[in-house]
């Protein structure tokens, strides 16, 4: 059954069609990759789904309910949370407090919040940094914190915007493992990533955006052979991109 249905969603900025009439479906428990060249509209689509921007046209249906145009906090309470491509921790709060925000205000609020926040930090491998101010974290740890905070809200659908980009190989591998274990916990994931090896290795299915339009939607092997996709990446093979 479809958990998320994006129906004819567009988002314009002035005359710019950042997202142009996109239809897509994400099934319960699926891990879908969202790729496309720079400026394709991936982050904008995430923000429309998360409620940061209302759609200029179209519908976002989650669990059979229309969520397009709701405030982000309402969308979060329905079970959708997104990380931010440019990490935005609360710099003067500790790592634990950062996670606590999502735990206390998010979708699932049961049990002792501090305990839950600690469990989440344990799960993403940040427990040893719990009492450090977020502004003192290294970039890889900040990216991890983005994921931890989002997980703290107890999402059914997690939107991950380039949480691996910029990491070295070891760190990237760790985060890939983390994403797999999030999926095993039953969380549905929609993720943006430029690295083809990462996205091919993780995704059940890949959606490709180009100039705001969806140009492909298929299993990884098929997408990597799709001429339209290869052309979108300026002729270069996306596998090596």
């Amino acid at each position: 059954m479809a958990l998320l249905e994006v129906q004819g969603v567009s988002r314009y900025f002035g005359g710019l069609r950042a997202v142009d009439h996109v239809d897509m479906v994400v099934g319960e428990g699926e891990l879908v990759g969202l790729i496309g060249p720079n400026g394709a509209g991936k982050t904008t689509l995430f923000r429309v789904i998360a409620g940061v921007y209302p759609p200029s046209a179209g519908q976002v249906i989650f669990n059979g309910e229309s969520v397009g145009g709701l405030h982000p906090n309402r969308v979060c309470h329905k079970g959708i949370t997104s990380t931010h491509q440019v990490v935005r921790p609360f710099p003067a709060l500790t790592v634990l407090e950062n996670v606590l925000v999502g735990v206390q205000y998010g979708n699932v609020r049961s049990g002792d919040p501090r305990q839950r926040a600690r469990e989440v930090l344990e799960f993403v491998g940040l427990a040893h940094r719990a009492d450090v101010l977020a502004r003192n974290l290294t970039l890889p740890d900040r990216k991890r914190l983005e994921v931890a905070r989002a997980l703290g809200t107890g999402p059914k659908l997690l939107l991950l915007d380039e949480v691996i980009a910029g990491l070295n190989q070891t760190e990237a591998a760790r985060t890939m493992d983390l994403i797999r274990s999030i999926k095993r916990q039953g969380v549905t994931i929609l993720m943006i990533e430029h690295n083809m090896r990462v996205i091919m290795g993780l995704s059940d299915r890949i959606v490709v955006l180009h100039h705001g339009e969806k140009i492909a939607d298929a299993p990884p092997e098929q997408v990597s052979r799709d001429p339209k996709v290869i052309e979108a990446y300026l002729g270069e093979s996306p596998v090596s991109a």
Binding site: N73, R88, A92, A150
Partner: protein, 364 residues
Amino acid sequence: MTVKERERQSTAAAATRRAGPGREALFAVGGAVLAAAILAIFGLTLPANSYLLFSGFLLFLFTTQSLAWNLVGGYGGQTSFGHATFYGIGAYTTALLQENAGLHPVLALLAGALGAAVFSVIWGYPLFRLRGFYFAIATIGIAEATRLVALSPLRELTGGASGFRMSTAGAGGRTSQYMTALALVLATFLTSYWVRNSKLGLGLFALNMDPEAAETLGVDTTRLKAISLALSAFIVGLTGGIYARAFLYINPNDVFAFSVSIAMVLMSVIGGVGTLIGPILGAVIYVVIQDQLGAAQITFRGQTFQFRDVQLGLYGLLLALIILFEPAGLVGLFQRVAGRFRRRGGTQAVAEQQALLRNETGDE
């Protein structure tokens, strides 16, 4: 980044670290005991003469206002330049209910505070959609509008420009005023402490630092701002009522004055906006300056300048300087100085010393 640089960054920060879960109960009990002790000490060693009693009374009222303003202006980062509106509404509601409706003084006081809180919710919701600068300007407009409404259309009720006089019946002596204000400032401090360590406080800090990130984590930012504003308005409303009962005379031009709003901003900013202790330090300094310079004047090239007349300009300048050079006010300054002398104990120890401040865009 070196330890030293980290320390410098930490200077824009609060005085105390936020408590852990186990310590919270301990702090609450400890705080209550401490408050009771302070109450007892101040109460038992009442200032001998009535000038000191009265100065203490004023200091407590100003400190209360400063702490209350900080709940929304500091923790939540919603800079209001219009808190006089709550002061005026509290003062007038209390006075009118007590005088014209014969309500019990305590009930009249609570009604005034409630009136201020309800009024804040009415305009808070629409105005919180505005960001930063525009919000600040809008709050000035609100306060001025209430002043003008009280001055003219509601003249019959408020006494207009000639003010409203109360009978001496419910006044109570200087000592009882002093004790009332002392109890209020302690209650406000405990409230401020509690908010700081509560879920509400965490949400306010988060939305202050990054509203969009807070929203995506489920924080209803508009609701939280409204709650903190209402709480702030309630407390400032109480100070208005207490003022009215102490002076037995109020005037729209005094209680709704822009200078009343500015004073609250100033006290918090001088001491350290968003911190727990800062607003108290700021209030002490502000009250001392007002007391010492209130009647001062200088003559320059044959022209006489009253401090009273130029104070807004001077305070504006002071605000600008603090915001430019030490946004965390005195608390920030103390921390910076303390950082110089502190032994360098590695990142962890430094982090332990650090706490919260508003409006940081991160250090990337």
